[in-house]
Amino acid sequence: MSLCRPLICTLLFAAISRLASAPAAIEGRVSLPKARTAPVVNQRYEIITKGGVIATNPPLAVVYLEGSFPPPPVPPLAQIAQKGLTFIPTLLPVQVGTRVEFPNFDDAFHNIFSFSPAKRFDLGRYRASEKPVPSVVFDEPGLVTLRCDIHEHMRAVILVLPTPHFVVTEADGRYRLEGLPPGRYAIRAWLDSRTTSPARPVELHEGATVHLDFP
């Protein structure tokens, strides 16, 4: 009994404190540029470079919260698969320090490499059976373009952000960023390698949802 009481107290405290700091959310719409190609069912997103600007097509945006956040106790893990001779997803936002795995689900060899300043690496050729799954830790913020040395059309981008709070918009630009700690922050929308919206101040209250559009 003497052992149960402190445990109950701890659980109760935790439940009370959790209730006291209920996460906030932000939702809204990012005004995306027009798609380069007509929308189709099961649209695949591709990475295009035009005039040195890297973006997805059809356009997508990444909305993320800026602020001072403690580093994660355990490095987050993310994944970009190679399936059907394409990267899935083609746009992946990750927090700095995230390890991204690149499993190969194709029968063919792939050879992922990046010449981006934020992370230069070359995984060499490997097949689906490659164990452990080749991965890379992205420890600097920035944009990393992934290419396959064997399949010239394959591209993907990883947006390495110094924040754990980010989300990729829907195709129509709508987004919902959840699980946010209350407080004062700035919020931005990344549109392409050269366009990131100006920081918008946002104040989050416990359990509240803020509506914010990016024109």
């Binding site: 295009i48 035009k50 490499f113 990046s114 010449f115 373009t145 290419r147 396959c148 010239e152």
Partner: protein, 571 residues
């Protein structure tokens, strides 16, 4: 007589020679023309054949070049699609040449010079550079000079283009190779196109060893070279004088594809210039091919000699054939001439042989007649015999004249002859003859008619015609003589009454020894008309029967009118 006997063979030989010459005159030009056209066609055929062979060799070479070029272009296209190169261009340009060194390792030539004839070196690059989208050179880092191929700054600058091309461009670059010798590289600039947007983001320029342009000893001395930047490269030692000709050829690009003849080192040559990089943004480069025509000339000379030999043989054959033909053709003529000559000789011999005994006979008879002891009956018989000797003499005279004409020995000295005087003299003679038949003579002629003739023979014509008019007349008949001129000729018509000449016999009346049916009881030998016509023709005139019907027979003889001043020539 000897001279006359030799006449016929000489004339036949002359005829034969003339015939031979005529045949040769026909045969020679035909043979010459035939040979000329044959030689021309053969020479043209040989030239066309050689030119075709040369063009065939060139085409084979161009095909090999095209295959090689296609292989090179494909290699370049494969290289510019390399994701690492595109990635480096987009995001990591400082490592571009590092990445490219790795990616182009297979295509770049080993720093050690390849052995001559090494096939692999044909597809190996000697240097490479990247151009920006604006066509400027992306200068390789200094440490990379050896792996990207040594080029000076000026040589690199010549690789730059106004903008990165959207299609592969071919050009040529002369540069100093590692061993300081001048080299030429075939340059292919391939656009690097973004896989996502299709935009040209840069260009890769690779320099290859050009197709072999040395003199090809196996191809009948064909020398090939390259012309670009106003200079000729690799045309062989014997093509020093080509520069000006090539410059002229490439000035007219529409004619650059067709061959032109040029003299080179004293020998005729065919020069071909082919634009190697039409539409390229690099300076135009021409492939120059020189083909010596000395072999062709030798062949044509040999051919000409053969044709000339053949022509000589043909002409010789023609000469022999003509000789044979002339002989065969002249046989009947020769026979005719011999017969004619024999007949003429017979007439002449007979005349001469007969004349003397007749004269002797007449002298004897006249002496006998002069004797006093003869009776009147004997005297009448002797007179008749003497008359016959005169007839015989006249006949012999006619035969002698005819034989001279037949032998061609009678030549008239045509002078201005007063025909009126001759007519009057003949009529006087006619009137002086004993007229047993009471023949009436009518005349109608102007006072002065001058013809071109020889008086003696003109008189014979007149006498013969008047004698015929008298002989073939009827008792108490009429002889009518008329003459006149028409400005060109003079005509003389003599008609007489009496039995007419049958139409069927009219064709033959001018033949020798022909006597009509009317002449059965008429003295004569059928020589008068023949003689008169032959003489008229010697006068350049003619004698013809005008009519013979209704108790009237009339002949007309025509003479040339004498010109005012006597400028007549012998006939």
């Amino acid at each position: 007589m000897t001279a006359r006997r030799a006449l016929a063979p000489t004339r036949v030989a002359g005829f034969r020679t003339k015939l031979l010459v005529a045949i040769m005159l026909v045969v020679s030009p035909i043979t010459a023309l035939g040979l000329y056209f044959a030689e021309r066609d053969l020479a043209a055929g040989v030239e066309q054949e050689l030119q075709r062979s040369f063009e065939g060799k060139l085409e084979a070479r161009h095909n090999a070049e095209a295959v090689r070029h296609a292989a090179l272009t494909e290699r370049c296209r494969a290289l510019v699609r390399k994701p690492r190169i595109q990635g480096a261009l987009e995001e990591f340009q400082e490592a571009l040449y590092d990445v490219a060194d790795d990616e182009l390792r297979d295509i770049m030539e080993e720093p050690v010079a390849p052995r001559p004839g090494d096939e692999a070196s044909v597809l190996s690059a000697r240097f490479y550079r990247f151009l920006t989208a604006q066509g400027e050179i992306i200068t390789p880092p200094s440490g990379r000079r050896s792996t990207v191929g040594l080029l000076t700054g000026e040589e690199e600058a010549r690789l730059a283009l106004p903008a990165a091309p959207d299609q592969p461009q071919v050009g040529f670059l002369s540069y100093q190779s590692a061993d300081r010798s001048e080299s030429v590289a075939e340059v292919i600039a391939t656009p690097i196109v973004s896989g996502q947007t299709g935009e040209v983001i840069a260009a890769l320029v690779l320099g290859f060893k050009p197709f072999e342009f040395a003199t090809d000893q196996t191809a009948a001395g064909i020398a090939t070279g390259l012309w670009f930047e106003g200079r000729l490269h690799f045309a062989g030692a014997n093509a020093d004088g080509l520069t000006a000709d090539v410059a002229r050829a490439v000035v007219a690009p529409d004619r650059a594809g067709s061959p032109r003849r040029i003299p080179l080192n004293g020998e005729p040559h065919l020069l071909f210039c082919k634009l190697l990089n039409p539409g390229s943004r690099f300076p135009p480069a021409y492939e120059v091919c020189v083909y010596p025509l000395a072999g062709l000339r030798r062949q044509q000379r040999r051919l000409r000699w053969r044709v000339l030999g053949l022509g000589a043989g043909l002409l010789l054959g023609g000469l022999v054939a003509s000789q044979f033909l002339a002989r065969r053709l002249s046989v009947p003529v020769e026979k005719l001439a011999v017969d004619s000559e024999r007949a003429a000789r017979f007439s002449a011999d007979a005349s001469h042989q007969l004349k003397t005994p007749v004269t002797v006979l007449r002298a004897g008879l006249e002496e006998w007649l002069a004797r006093e002891k003869i009776t009147p009956g004997e005297a009448q018989e002797i007179s008749a015999l003497i008359h016959q000797t005169y007839r015989l003499s006249s006949l012999i005279e006619d035969l002698l004249l005819l034989s001279r004409m037949d032998a061609g020995a009678l030549k008239l000295e045509l002078t201005r002859v007063n025909l009126t005087e001759l007519i009057e003299a003949a009529l006087d003679d006619f009137g002086a003859r004993p007229d047993d038949f009471g023949i009436k003579v009518e005349t109608e002629f102007p006072t002065a008619l001058h013809i071109a003739g020889e008086k003696r023979y003109t008189a014979i014509i007149l006498q013969n015609l008047l004698e015929n008019a008298r002989k073939y007349n009827r008792p108490h008949g009429c002889v009518r003589l008329a003459a006149g001129g028409d400005g060109v000729a003079v005509w003389l018509r003599i008609g007489n009454t009496g039995r007419t000449i049958a139409p069927a016999a009219q064709t033959y009346i001018f033949e020798r020894f022909h006597r009509g049916t009317a002449g059965e009881n008429v003295p004569g030998y059928g020589l008068g008309l023949n003689l008169a016509r032959e003489l008229a023709r010697l006068h350049q005139g003619d004698l013809r029967l005008l009519r013979s019907e209704n108790d009237w027979t009339e002949f007309e003889v025509r003479f040339r009118l004498a010109p005012p001043s006597s400028t007549l020539t012998p006939v």
